[in-house]
């Protein structure tokens, strides 16, 4: 076992990990933060998306030992009010993809300047959804961006 110290959702965290643990396993099984979901375990679906030093990454592909000293944010850190536009616009049905979608969505809303070079659909391409057909997700993120621009 090795001791891992990092910043989790803005607070210091220390946890004993196995060198073979993925960040996803540490969050869910050692720290009890089960909001982050495992869909595919191969980097395709985005259900396990967290922010690592401010960028969205698939926590199923991050060796836990690599986050020593880093900043990690999970879906538990999001402000529920910020997710309201996603609910209103039908961005969620069964909810399996929703924690990951919410992480990517809130990252985009926090960095609107990135839309100068990227479309919403390109930025959301790493979050697969079997239910909504994506239009609801794109509309929800757009509404959240519009609300942010008005605020």
């Amino acid at each position: 076992m090795i001791t891992l110290a990092f910043t989790l959702n803005g607070a210091p965290a220390t946890v004993e990990i196995d060198p073979a643990d993925r960040l996803l396993d540490v969050l869910r099984e050692r720290l009890g933060l089960t909001g982050t979901k495992e869909g595919c375990g191969e980097g395709e679906c985005g259900a396990c998306t967290v922010w690592l030093d401010g960028l969205p990454v698939n926590s199923c592909l991050v060796p836990a030992y690599q986050v020593r000293g880093a900043r990690v944010h999970t879906v538990e850190s999001l402000d529920p009010a910020a997710l309201e536009p996603l609910l209103v616009h039908g961005a969620t049905q069964c909810g399996a993809c929703t924690p990951g979608v919410a992480m990517t969505a809130c990252w985009i809303v926090g960095h609107p300047e990135i839309l100068a070079s990227h479309s919403l659909r390109e930025l959301l391409a790493g979050n697969l959804c079997r239910c909504t057909g994506y239009d609801g997700i794109v509309a929800g993120v757009q509404a959240a961006l519009d609300a942010g621009a008005r605020a």
Partner: protein, 276 residues
């Protein structure tokens, strides 16, 4: 499983000199796919490169671009002057996986992983990139178009790390990247192509149509000679010489050759007078 986390390149090279069987880890986007099921790999030794600050640099100097071994796709997409100087790198990076993969995956990892379907390798090869390898015994430079010796085989010795990728800065009047996959994002290429022209001549690099990403020297010669091309079919003899695609779960050999001919013809018709 044992993980070593050297803080300097020197330490890392000492480590793998003593443990050539140890596996280097960069962004882990290849190494950790289906990790819980890869039980045999849990017993190995790993050398995590992510702490080595000196491998993170991206620098423009002396007429070249130097990508440190930890440079990610996301770093390159957002680096200043990249879109003007090396548009193919940006174009390919944006087609790798999705943002979550681009944020973690490295160009060096793409090179060493040696997939014939890689997206980073073809554009680097079209720019005449050179792979800089280091070991305790010293540094060695291998042009990327000579780095692969067979399917998943490279010239890297187990005691060597890729420390950087050097790319000459040239003015290009043609620079095209094409990726044909099952969908637009998060797809592995059925056919990949990078085409570049500069004072150094034509470079045509193809992915997913041979055991390694490779330069298409017969096509390059046809372009240099100005051989008349009146349709995609006229490219088939050269394509037959350059590539050896297979039927697999993603596509068929015949489809790949047809698509490659059409892409080449469409991309070059506007820019090569010999194409009509």
């Amino acid at each position: 499983m044992t993980v070593h986390q050297p803080g300097t390149l020197r330490e890392a090279l000492d480590l793998i000199a003593g443990k050539p069987e140890a596996v280097p880890v960069a962004g882990a986007t290849d190494l950790l796919v289906h990790w819980p099921a890869r039980v045999a790999e849990h017993d190995r030794d790993y050398v995590d490169l992510s702490r080595i600050a000196e491998l993170k640099a991206i620098a423009f100097r002396n007429g070249e671009l130097m990508l440190g071994a930890l440079a990610t796709y996301w770093d390159v997409i957002h680096a200043g002057r990249m879109k003007e100087g090396f548009p193919l790198l940006v174009a390919a990076a944006r087609q790798v996986g999705a943002v979550q993969i681009q944020a973690r995956g490295t160009w060096a990892g793409n090179i060493v992983n040696a997939s014939p379907a890689a997206d980073g390798v073809p554009v680097l090869m079209a720019y005449d990139a050179v792979v800089v390898l280091a070991s305790r015994a010293g540094q060695e430079e291998v042009p990327l178009d000579r780095f692969y010796t067979g399917y998943k085989q490279t010239r890297r010795r187990p005691d060597q790390l890729v420390v950087a990728i050097r790319i000459p800065w040239r003015a290009h009047d043609v620079a095209v990247f094409e990726k044909v996959g099952g969908r637009r994002a998060q797809a592995i290429a059925k056919v990949g192509l990078a085409i570049a022209h500069s004072a150094a001549g034509w470079r045509v690099v193809a992915a997913s149509v041979a055991p390694t990403v490779r330069r298409c020297t017969a096509i390059e010669r046809l372009l240099t000679d100005g051989t008349p091309v009146r349709g995609p079919d006229d490219l088939h003899p050269a394509i037959e010489r350059d590539v050896t695609p297979i039927d697999d779960l993603r596509s068929t050999a015949a489809y790949r050759k047809t698509v490659m001919a059409r892409l080449l013809y469409d991309d070059l018709r506007g820019v090569c007078p010999a194409f009509s």
